[in-house]
Symmetry: C3
Subunit: 241 residues, 3 copies
């Protein structure tokens, strides 16, 4: 049986993983899903990427977790990559689930298509606290395309604005790219959050991992909501030795 630490993406919190954790636990595994600093409703949004990573590190050290599988979704690819630099010896395997694997020196924004960059810049300008929330039409069509409208609405209500520094802080990833931790990439085949093709998740992001285990499943960027059981089973497959 394995221990999983599940790290949510932009706009989400640890609570987004609830149904996934239920399945992992029903299969005898242990799972944690901390909420990263700067994420969730009513919290301080003046957070840097480094502070966000530190909040994950503090959670893991605080629980004295070792030998776990560290899973990052979407934006959290950048977070687990940085956390892996800090305590590689604690991690049994890194699992990137439709997650960013930024090139060394890049920020997340550098890895997104120009129309997204422009959109988020404008949303941040219009905000009072340097944050941006994904607009509902994009959420509905490009993120949770395999869910029905009711689920798209109820999950959207759980989201909260993302601190812009998560997208714009440049990331030194030299040590990450030298680590020999085993790595997996889960690709949901209908994930169009990064538009498939030139700017898509796979193989653009996945191939940067070097030798990695590819795991795929049908579904959108939000299968943690639309198919949490199927996703949990693929996390198990991606995380085993």
């Amino acid at each position: 049986m394995s221990t999983f630490v599940l790290v949510h993406g932009s706009w989400h919190t640890g609570a987004s993983w609830t149904a996934v954790i239920a399945r992992l636990e029903s299969k005898g595994h242990t799972a944690f899903a901390p909420t990263l600093a700067g994420h969730g409703k009513g919290v301080d949004k003046a957070i840097s990427h480094a502070q966000c990573v530190q909040s994950l590190v503090d959670f893991i050290v605080g629980k004295n977790l070792t030998g776990f599988v560290l899973v990052g979704h979407s934006f959290a690819g950048t977070v687990i990559a940085k956390a892996a630099e800090i305590f590689p010896e604690r991690i049994r395997r890194l699992v990137f689930w439709n997650a960013f694997v930024p090139l060394d020196g890049n920020c997340l924004d550098d890895e997104t298509p120009p129309h997204y960059r422009e959109l988020f810049k404008n949303l941040v300008k219009a905000s009072s606290d340097n944050t941006a929330l994904i607009p509902f039409p994009i959420w509905r069509e490009a993120f949770i395309n395999d869910g029905d409208l009711e689920l798209a609405c109820s999950t959207y209500e759980q989201l909260s604005p993302e601190p812009y520094r998560m997208f714009t802080d440049k990331l030194d990833l030299k040590r990450f790219y030298s680590l020999e931790i085993p790595k997996s990439y889960i690709n949901c085949t209908e994930d169009n959050a990064l538009p498939q093709g030139e700017w898509g998740w796979h193989p653009r992001m996945s191939s940067r991992l070097g030798l990695y285990r590819l795991v795929q499943m049908p579904g959108s960027h939000e299968t943690l909501f639309t198919n949490p059981i199927g996703l949990a089973d693929k996390i198990i497959e991606a995380g085993r030795d």
Copy 2:
């Protein structure tokens, strides 16, 4: 419950959708599948692309349909795009199923690989009425690759030659590209009618829609024959709000 208008591709007629309609109706939906001008056996083939579009418009206006989902297969991507320019307010959503989404000013021929262009040009030359019928070996291997030989033969017998102007009339699509109608793209993952890769359907055609809902399913270009129930269910998923 939704109303669907299903628009067939080259060589097909409205009758090609029979089994899909049966499934849609069994789920409580309403569906229409008109045969476009210039299509079918024993009809006038001296038809322009604009006349073909007009025949669809006439059908919809004649039935006074509004608030429907307009689905176009293959060649019919060009037809629903032009129809949408004429009465955008009638359409709830456009669904492109392995369909052409031509760049403004292009004809369908401009969007197909050179070996197809050459093939159809030669077939048209050899015809007496400026038409071309897809040769059986291509139908069997690249269009209905997931069907057995018996189904490949029986469906081929239903096909009829395509007026060449469907492929060569240049299309002004400026208005289409300014419309804000919601859009979906259904991609059958074994569709090799446009050869996968550089000239493939997805993401080459789909990405031109801008923000769109991606829906995928296993199957060939002819899943309306090989898996009409599965296709109908994906049309419902693609067409819902």
Copy 3:
């Protein structure tokens, strides 16, 4: 009912097909899986590509097989292409299963990504008999990614080193590219043995076949071990008329 001749890839032998053959036979088909010259444990490894092809030709002529479907996996794409040049009239259809389809004049090595080329060159240098065995970490992560660790280990024990000339002998394929034998390509969608993307199997290799039947299924490069029943069913689909 059909007759299948199944040709294994590098490091494998005919015995790798055992579970696939059982399924084919249970469906009423006949199947053969010869072991190519230079392959298997304790055999002469000083074998050229031409000798390897000749061993397949001898097997087929020896059994006086005609009208069969010739299936090649991985490296064996190069073997069935050369065998097809020798007796095209005996073959009903060629099925390439995640197999190399080299450009005329190339060797297999020319078709693999630089990091593989470098790796195998170094392994061969370190060998006493001009052979290379795929390292276990690559086998586990990139070849049999959908299997569990126990299956990855037990199947790895069956492998044996590959004569380097299989990778480096240049192949004249002019006749192959002129043959009009029907062709299919089976692509397992999680096959990452050739890393997906720029250097991937499909559509890079498959598209070289010209008109071909595309068949896909979930699974890794080693579905003959991880899902032999599913693979056999797809071989039947790929091999039928």
